[in-house]
Symmetry: C2
Subunit: 311 residues, 2 copies
């Protein structure tokens, strides 16, 4: 019975760094790290961020995949992962805070023209642009889970007019709540910024398409910190080109890293960041250790996902 | 008895636009607009943002200069303005909010590497940089007047660790307060961001010099939304060049517009904005009208400044 750490994202979190944090929490457990080159029949739990092709076949006794970052669709959609293998996710508060701060940074930077001023500086130009104010700005947050709720509250405490949309209707202080297809249209029609914090599911893939973009307020700005496959890229490019949207801040993409020939790169009204809105595992490492213990003891897991529902 | 509006900043606020807002509030008052080309003996009050050379001589019966934007030093230091002419300033809440949002935009943009990511995008590069979090970031706000207080509270409500420095010691919730020269050194020594919201006075001009910059934490970032003459430009450039500071966000300068040959323009770790942190007059226009009425009625003025103290 052992644990395998196989993250394959060394710029984010090396396998060794996570092992160093887990080892003191699981002193009697063998922890393997790195992509295995032979079967590891003793591994019952995998800590990973994606489900690499070929890995499941090397782990015949795998019982649990513990997802480290946000979004479980690569596990849920894996055709190689046997149906009996369970999947759990993390909900570190630090990552919800980080994603909130990313969204505040992007929206305040847009209201205060930070990117246009940098381009002016590169051209030695001094021109004033009137700033826009939070109090006069409407933000619609799509998705009110652990992270979306933190994002909506972050905008609310800074004086923005905030609405939130979720599958099931919620009631929240200072946030106008919407649900269902009609609620979605209402929420985005009034918003100066639409902030997508949705998971990737059958219901959300391709949601931000030409129809959705046409429902948005003319001149609005899209922020996507959810999943890349929410967006139909060509529809977004068309909406930006014709001025239906004034800009987009994108941290996630259909394919990452974004290929060098993608149209987004050269659009001045698109801000590209390399999937960094949520970053730190924080106390999530405690839950990884706890889920190993619970798996071994046959107890209910922390944040197990429903593989049929996809979240 | 009449009012002259002579702003000379058409990109910010045209004389006609202010006249349109004041006329309904002062229906029986003659309002002149624009730089006069002959003496205007009927003018008793001037609404302006700077004190242009030669203007005072054309207004022999001037009794009050109503400053529109922040900072009264151009009036206080004018050698042409007779000693009996009074000076009043405005304190629109909307401008305090705007300056707060400018500071949040600059600090969050720095924590989230918005400018480096834009430069990467221009080079089609995808590299992750670890974000920094508000909760782990110390901000020192220098100046706790109307605007500085709003700025400090803005950082505090977003989870930053905030200290504030003022001439007289204050007591504020969630803000560590300092005063005096020793307090200044303590406040800036610990800060990741030093945000200057100070007026231009004999005590503050040149405050941010080599000595001050050497007291700042290595790798810290300076934000100046106070007055340009707080900063000794060559000392700041030297501190940035040698890595004592990691960056600076400057909205105000010793000479504006910043001359094209100034060293700031080409420094990647300096962000230049063209004096736009506070922008809107908001309800301040009501105070302009009220001060005209009070002047005529011989009543105490709103926010009259002490010409000897300079604020």
């Amino acid at each position: 019975m052992s644990l395998l750490i196989d993250i394959r994202m060394p710029n984010w979190l090396s396998d060794a760094a996570l092992c160093d944090r887990l080892a003191p929490l699981l002193p009697d457990v063998t922890i393997h790290t790195g992509a295995p080159d032979r079967p590891l029949p003793d591994v019952t739990m995998l800590a990973a961020n994606r489900m690499p092709s070929g890995l499941a076949a090397l782990l015949p006794n795998l019982a649990l995949v513990q997802k480290l970052g946000a979004g479980v669709e690569s596990m849920v959609n894996s055709t190689e992962l046997p149906a009996h293998v369970r999947i759990a996710r993390l909900e570190p508060q630090v990552q919800a805070d980080e994603i909130t701060e990313y969204c505040l940074a992007e929206v305040f930077a847009t209201l205060r023209n930070i990117r246009p001023y940098l381009r002016q500086q590169q051209a030695l130009e001094w021109h004033e642009h009137a700033p826009r104010r939070a109090a006069e700005t409407r933000v619609a947050v799509l998705g009110l889970g652990h992270i979306g709720l933190a994002v909506a509250q972050g905008f609310s405490r800074n004086g923005f007019q905030v609405s939130g949309w979720s599958r099931r209707l919620k009631t929240l202080d200072n946030i106008a709540c919407f649900a269902g297809p009609d609620g979605l249209d209402q929420s985005i029609a009034a918003a100066d910024f639409v902030v997508a914090v949705l998971p990737s599911t059958d219901a959300t893939r391709g949601l931000v398409d030409a129809r959705f973009l046409a429902k948005m307020k003319t001149g609005a700005h899209l922020v996507n910190v959810g999943r890349g496959d929410l967006v139909v890229d060509q529809d977004l490019i068309a909406a930006l080109d014709k001025g239906q949207l004034s800009g987009a801040s994108l941290d996630v993409f259909n394919h990452e890293p974004l290929s060098q020939d993608h149209g987004f790169w050269v659009m001045e009204n698109v801000a590209i960041t390399p999937h960094v809105s949520g970053w730190s595992l924080g106390d999530g490492v405690l839950d990884v250790a706890e889920n190993y213990r619970r798996l071994m003891a046959g107890k209910p897991l922390l944040r197990e996902i429903d593989r049929a529902l996809g979240y």
